[in-house]
């Protein structure tokens, strides 16, 4: 069983696609895509245990720090590029978004929505930095240095001239309820976007 956002992404990846999975973790998404949809490609990961688990699954994984960019990947050499739960930890999320759509025709991005109502309660009512399932760290040791919201990301896409092909929300371990689909910025815990460059 995969995380909710991975299940949504799984459905969005075309059969036999050539993909790049940035921050691929233990490789479970790539393994499922390869096994059931004939998908090929590579995962990039920085965590040693994640890398070993990818290798154990037979997933091609490259140790790579995403903050170093994607310079070694050629323009439009992939059909789709995926980045789950890493955008917020990058030094320059905007540059990465640009890079993703340089190497692939389509980008799929998921990140914790900082405007999720529980986060708002934490900050707005209780006056503390939010700590939740999607944002489990304390403010002082969090790797998440660029937190954003559904609305923020849509702005960034507009600024970069990107088209939002699809948008979904994840809450906890399942797909979003109708309330989160209607008001994602308030009720969506995980933001899931599918974007392309405007032709």
């Amino acid at each position: 069983m995969m995380r909710a956002d991975l299940n949504i992404i799984y459905d969005w990846i075309a059969p036999d696609a050539h993909v790049l999975d940035l921050a691929c973790g233990d490789g479970v998404l790539l393994e499922n895509l390869a096994r059931h949809k004939g998908v090929t490609g590579y995962g990039l990961e920085i965590d040693p245990d994640g890398i070993t688990r990818c290798v154990a699954r037979g997933v091609s994984v490259i140790e790579h720090n995403l903050d170093d960019g994607l310079a070694s990947f050629r323009d439009q050499s992939y059909d789709q590029v995926i980045m789950t739960q890493a955008l917020q930890a990058l030094r320059r999320p905007d540059k990465m978004l640009h890079e993703m759509l340089r190497v692939a025709n389509e980008g799929i991005i998921t990140f914790p929505n900082f405007a999720y109502w529980r986060h708002r309660v934490h900050l707005g009512l209780r006056g503390y930095m939010p700590v939740s399932k999607s944002l489990p760290h304390a403010w002082y040791d969090t790797p998440n240095i660029h937190l954003s919201t559904f609305n923020d990301f849509e702005h960034l896409c507009r600024d970069q001239g990107l088209v939002i092909v699809d948008r979904a929300v994840g809450v906890g371990n399942h797909r979003g309820h109708w309330t989160s689909r209607l008001w994602p910025n308030l009720f969506g815990e995980i933001a899931i976007f599918r974007v392309r460059r405007r032709l």
């Binding site: 070993t52 990818c54 290798v55 037979g58 091609s60 994984v61 490259i62």
Partner: protein, 399 residues
């Protein structure tokens, strides 16, 4: 098939050791055409095996050795041997290259000085030792000779070909020259081609040997001498490049051999003593002509050379079919992580399955020989995937 250790001696040794092993020799009469244009009419290859070849002959693993390596990769030749084979940390029962699963073959390459035909062998045409006239051998020549050894042992396809440093280059060449005969490739602490700095260090080593008066233009054996000083210097220079500055610093620092400085050119510092010891040992166990040949094989290795495009290496790797594991070590400055990454990028451009990890280690280039938990874990994970599927054959029959 040779299961080269017996049960009663095994019990004296560690349970994760392959135990006592006995080298074997394979003689070849079919001439081998070499890249340099010369032909070797006949030759011997000395090799060891660990584990048991399965009935389908699908569990064979070939180990390729590095510059000063040889066929003795694991286990012991005698119960009182001080040290096991050079890659014993990774080859044995339950180890990364698990001899309970795999039939491991490790040979001494042509031009070597540990039993395979090389400069210390007799040249049948002249009746003299080959000496400096032994033909220049390349990584590609080695791979062709290894393929013949595989034929001899009845191995159509290796479950994996693995090696570190110069050994890793042979693995790469295997994937290009015999793509259908290699199911998995592990290229460890290697590089797709030597840098100018690498070649420069090799040239210093060669000059050290060649300028030793005892070298006698390579005919030292006929003069009953050995260019010990040259070999010692060559090894001392080489050894510096195998260690990281940090490893050397933490091992020796500025420690003195005795309490006082001597204000002379004897040994003051521990690191001097260590290097001299390493050089001395090497100069009595390794052949100078072999060292010259092996460093040249390193320098010449460049599979991308035949392709002149920007993506030459990717083009060179086009024939490869197998999944690759590429490993580098953070403190390796001889073949630094960036060189492995160059290879990885080329494999990616060529669309080949490849996994890459840069193992955190303070031990420099030598790290590929030393036990390290992360290295063991990822190497084991890769090798377990290489284990032949016992149901594969029956599935094939059904389809």
């Amino acid at each position: 098939m040779p299961d080269s250790h017996s049960a009663d001696t095994e019990s004296q040794l560690l349970p994760d050791s392959v135990g006592l092993v006995t080298p074997e020799v394979a003689h070849f009469d079919t001439p081998l055409a070499l890249a340099c244009g010369k032909t070797l009419a006949a030759y011997d290859l000395v090799y060891e095996t660990y584990g048991t070849l399965n009935a389908e002959r699908t569990n064979a693993v070939l180990v390729c050795h590095a510059l000063s390596g040889h066929h003795h990769a694991a286990g012991y030749h005698h119960p009182d041997d001080r040290k096991p084979g050079w890659w014993d940390a990774y080859i044995g029962p339950g180890k990364s290259v698990d001899t309970n699963r795999f039939f491991v073959i490790s040979l001494n390459n042509l031009g070597g000085c540990h039993g395979s035909t090389g400069p210390l062998s007799h040249n049948p045409e002249t009746g003299r030792l080959w000496g400096p006239e032994f033909p220049m051998v390349t990584v590609s020549d080695w791979v062709h000779s290894q393929a013949r050894l595989a034929d001899r042992l009845g191995i159509e396809r290796f479950a994996a070909v693995i090696g570190g440093s110069l050994g890793g280059m042979q693995v790469l060449q295997w994937s290009i020259d015999y793509p259908e005969r290699i199911a998995n490739a592990a290229v460890i602490a290697a590089t797709p081609r030597l840098s100018a700095q690498n070649i420069a260090f090799n040239e210093v080593a060669r000059q050290a040997i060649r300028s030793d008066p005892d070298f006698s233009d390579g005919w030292y054996a006929e003069h009953n001498t050995v260019p010990k000083r040259g070999l010692k210097l060559a090894r001392m220079v080489g050894h510096i490049t195998y260690l990281s500055a940090d490893a050397m610093g933490s091992k020796f620092g500025r420690d003195l051999r005795s309490d006082d400085l001597h204000f002379g050119f004897g040994v003051d510092f521990q690191v001097e003593s260590y290097l001299r010891y390493q050089g001395d040992t090497f100069s009595t166990t390794f052949d100078a002509n072999t060292y010259l040949l092996m460093t040249k094989a390193l320098d010449y290795f460049d599979p991308a050379a035949e392709h002149d495009a920007e993506l030459a290496l990717a083009q060179a790797l086009t024939p490869a079919q197998c999944p690759f594991l590429v490993l580098s070590f953070t403190s390796d400055w001889r073949f630094p992580p960036s060189r492995s990454r160059e290879l990885v990028d080329a494999l990616i451009h060529a669309g080949k399955p490849v996994s890459y990890a840069n193992i955190d280690s303070p031990y420099g280039h030598d790290a590929f020989l030393l036990p390290e938990p992360r290295y063991e874990a990822i190497f084991s994970a890769f090798m377990q995937r290489a284990e032949p599927d016992p149901n594969a054959e029956s599935k094939e029959r059904q389809s």
